[in-house]
């Protein structure tokens, strides 16, 4: 009797002794978890705030309000209204003349050059196209808001240290003085930089935009999806549901898993050798980029799709077979629709990875400087990650903020894709 009671009390003691330790280890584990989450969140916040901090200023651009007299003497001295003559008129002089109205004292060659460089060198092209569109403007005075040169814009945004010696910076003392004067007159304002979303690449930061890269990336992903999704899903269905289980299919499976881990630049080399050199497809084209990314995404889609197929409860297969459905009816009437949301989610996440890929695209020439906006997947084009890479490499100060802005556009694109994946999953997911 006493033995048993002492026994039970000792069990309480033993448990009590251990309890503290158990709770402590549980507490520690939670602590580790929370710490790592906080760490990750902190990095994410630093990452985003740094990009946004550097990039947000690229969404505005300094512009100068200017009146330009479309002097018939310069544009069309013989009054022929001949398009060819008007096209080749000296529009630079028109821009210079109206700038000179602000600062009549400018005379030396150096000063003239500096004054001209206040505004973007795209200004004269803009006036040219305005005149060509409407020749009745000749002889009138246009009130325009024209882009400042990127260097001036950088100065306005506080990115130029004017305490440095004049030779050490890209903006001269005269330009600083003139800009400040124009600013006090209220002629300079920061406006939304629509060029960023409506132009292709350019050597001049103020004329550069991501539209070409955005469309290039869009074409590429379209091709990737069209090629890789049906093939990947079909391969997954075959391997999962129909292929005999033998050494050969095991071998195929191991290799698919290996392919998913192959460095992406290898796919670029493959694309260069096969698509461009062997099949003679155009270089720098989204078509080739899309095919290369499709190769890269293919194993990821197969793996995700097989996982989705495996997660379909076998009771559904039994039920379909039980009423006499053939294997292919079972798969396509029941298993496939149930696996589709998982397949889509996996594929879109695989494609999101492909969207951010730049290494394979370098190999197939998509690193080229392309100004034109592609209108078909066969046109030469840039891609968003490659555009980021190109701009990050550019020496002009104006490209620093544009690099961050392009990263923001890329991240936004990714966010849209991942949200689509979640939306599709919720839409097609069957509630049990």
């Amino acid at each position: 009797m006493s033995n048993s009671s002492s026994n039970s009390s000792s069990i309480t003691e033993i448990v009590n002794k251990g309890l503290k330790k158990r709770y402590r280890s549980e507490f520690m584990f939670r602590l580790y978890g929370i710490t790592s989450i906080l760490f990750a969140a902190a990095f994410l916040i630093v990452f985003f705030s740094s990009i946004i901090d550097k990039g947000y200023s690229a969404f505005t651009q300094g512009e100068l309000n200017i009146s330009i007299y479309l002097d018939p003497e310069i544009i069309d001295p013989d009054n022929t209204r001949d398009e060819e003559e008007i096209r080749y008129a000296n529009y630079d002089k028109l821009v210079f003349d109206s700038l000179k109205n602000f600062f009549p004292s400018v005379s030396s060659r150096k000063e003239r050059k500096e004054l001209k460089a206040l505004v973007s060198n795209g200004t004269s092209l803009r006036i040219q196209s305005l005149v060509l569109d409407d020749m009745s403007l000749i002889g009138k005075t246009l009130d325009l808001s024209v882009k400042l040169d990127s260097d001036i814009d950088m100065f306005l945004k506080g990115n130029v240290d004017i305490t440095l010696d004049e030779s050490q910076r890209r903006i001269s003392d005269n330009q600083v003085k003139w800009t400040n004067e124009l600013k006090t007159k209220g002629l300079i304002s920061q406006k939304f930089n629509s060029t960023l979303f409506s132009a292709g690449d350019s050597r001049e930061p103020e004329q550069a935009g991501v539209l070409g890269a955005l469309i290039g990336s869009f074409f590429m992903l379209l091709i990737t999806f069209i090629v890789a999704f049906p093939l990947g899903v079909a391969a997954a269905i075959y391997l999962e549901e129909f292929a005999p289980k033998n050494k050969f299919t095991d071998f195929v499976e191991v290799n698919i898993n290996n392919l998913a881990a192959v460095p992406s630049i290898i796919y670029g080399l493959l694309g260069l050798a096969v698509f461009i050199n062997f099949f003679g497809m155009p270089r720098s084209a989204p078509l080739v980029g899309g095919l290369v990314l499709a190769l890269m995404t293919f194993p990821v889609i197969i793996i995700a799709s097989r996982a989705a197929l495996q997660s379909v409860p076998p009771s559904i297969t039994d039920a379909a077979l039980g009423v006499g459905a053939s294997k292919i009816q079972t798969v396509f009437d029941h298993v496939f629709p149930l696996a589709l949301p998982g397949m889509l989610t996996g594929s879109i996440i695989g494609m999101a990875r492909a969207l951010g890929e730049s290494a394979p695209l370098l190999m197939i020439g998509m690193v080229a400087f392309v100004v034109d906006i592609p209108s078909t997947p066969l046109d030469a084009s840039a891609a968003l990650p490659v555009q980021v890479y190109l701009w990050a490499d550019a020496p002009e100060r104006g490209f620093v903020e544009r690099t961050s802005a392009a990263i923001l556009v890329l991240l936004f694109f990714l966010l849209v894709m991942n949200s689509t994946a979640i939306w599709l999953r919720n839409k097609f997911e069957i509630k049990w």
């Binding site: 039980g322 009423v323 459905a325 069957i430 049990w432």
Partner: protein, 274 residues
């Protein structure tokens, strides 16, 4: 572990076997053996299934009841490692013969599973799926009629007639199982296999399914696997006792539960095994 046990059993295991013969047999198993790789799960099963009768398969867990019932519509084909030997006939035709089409076999031998497994589609679609893939209806009206009769026979029509378009998975457990029965009878099978159809249901739903089985017996041959001895004695006319892959004894249900011939059967029904 379990499989090893099976292998160590000798082949001359003493059984009483099938001592009864139904009036009109529809399916017959002769020396049916099932192997999962090397392990033998069923040994020389000889059993007849009669028309318009309920045959219950009873026995402790892992004795091969479910394996056997899945041989009757060749659902074991989906398991790569499973191999079936011997002969199983449906109205005299060997179902494992190459000229027996497995799709046709499964249309003639329907199945209801342990866990209700309606398709995640509408109630209507659940019932219509079988007839549709077999091309059993000419028109929409035909199909409506098939669906209605099947649901009526499964005793579900009154409960679902106003919501044929709701998902089958939104029904209660008992309704889902009756929907599965309706789905099985919609293709007008000769035999219905039921693998523990009530094990996931509450007592009231179980009662309804049992009543339904008794009604369905008028038109179909039914083979039911059950762990509930009271259920077996309520619904079946003949009962077969399985033990470790052997068919120990088959007899009229009253005989099995009243005065079985074999000692193992006695032990089981008295609750000493299982």
């Amino acid at each position: 572990m379990k499989n090893n046990e099976l292998i160590t059993l000798s082949d001359d295991f003493l059984t009483v076997g099938d001592t009864t013969t139904p009036n009109e047999k529809i399916m017959e198993s002769q020396d049916c053996c099932v192997f999962y790789d090397e392990a033998q799960a069923l040994r020389n099963i000889n059993l007849e299934v009669g028309k318009k009768e309920v045959l219950s398969l009873i026995g402790p867990s892992g004795c091969g009841k479910s394996t056997f019932i899945r041989c009757l519509n060749r659902l074991n084909d989906t398991i790569d490692s499973a191999k079936v030997t011997g002969k199983i006939t449906l109205e005299g035709q060997d179902i494992y013969n190459s000229d027996m089409d497995v799709v046709l076999l499964r249309a003639r031998v329907g199945m209801v599973f342990q866990k209700p497994n309606p398709f995640p589609k509408s109630v209507y679609e659940n019932v219509a799926y079988g007839p549709r893939i077999h091309g059993m209806s000419e028109s929409k009206a035909d199909m409506d009629e098939i669906v209605e009769t099947s649901l009526l026979r499964a005793g579900l029509w009154d409960e679902v007639k106003d919501r044929l378009n709701t998902s089958g998975t939104a029904l209660s457990g008992g309704q889902q199982q009756r929907l599965c029965i309706a789905r099985a009878i919609a293709v007008r099978p000769d035999v219905i296999l039921m693998d523990e159809p009530c094990s996931a249901l509450d007592p009231i739903a179980t009662d309804r399914i049992e009543d339904l089985i008794s009604e369905l017996k008028e038109n179909y041959a039914i083979v039911i696997v059950t762990h509930s001895m009271s259920q077996a004695s309520r619904v079946s006319q003949r009962a077969a006792y399985f033990h470790l892959g052997h068919l120990v004894e088959t007899d009229a249900t009253e005989k099995i539960f009243g005065d079985p011939d074999h000692e193992l059967t006695q032990n089981y029904i008295k609750g000493r095994i299982g």
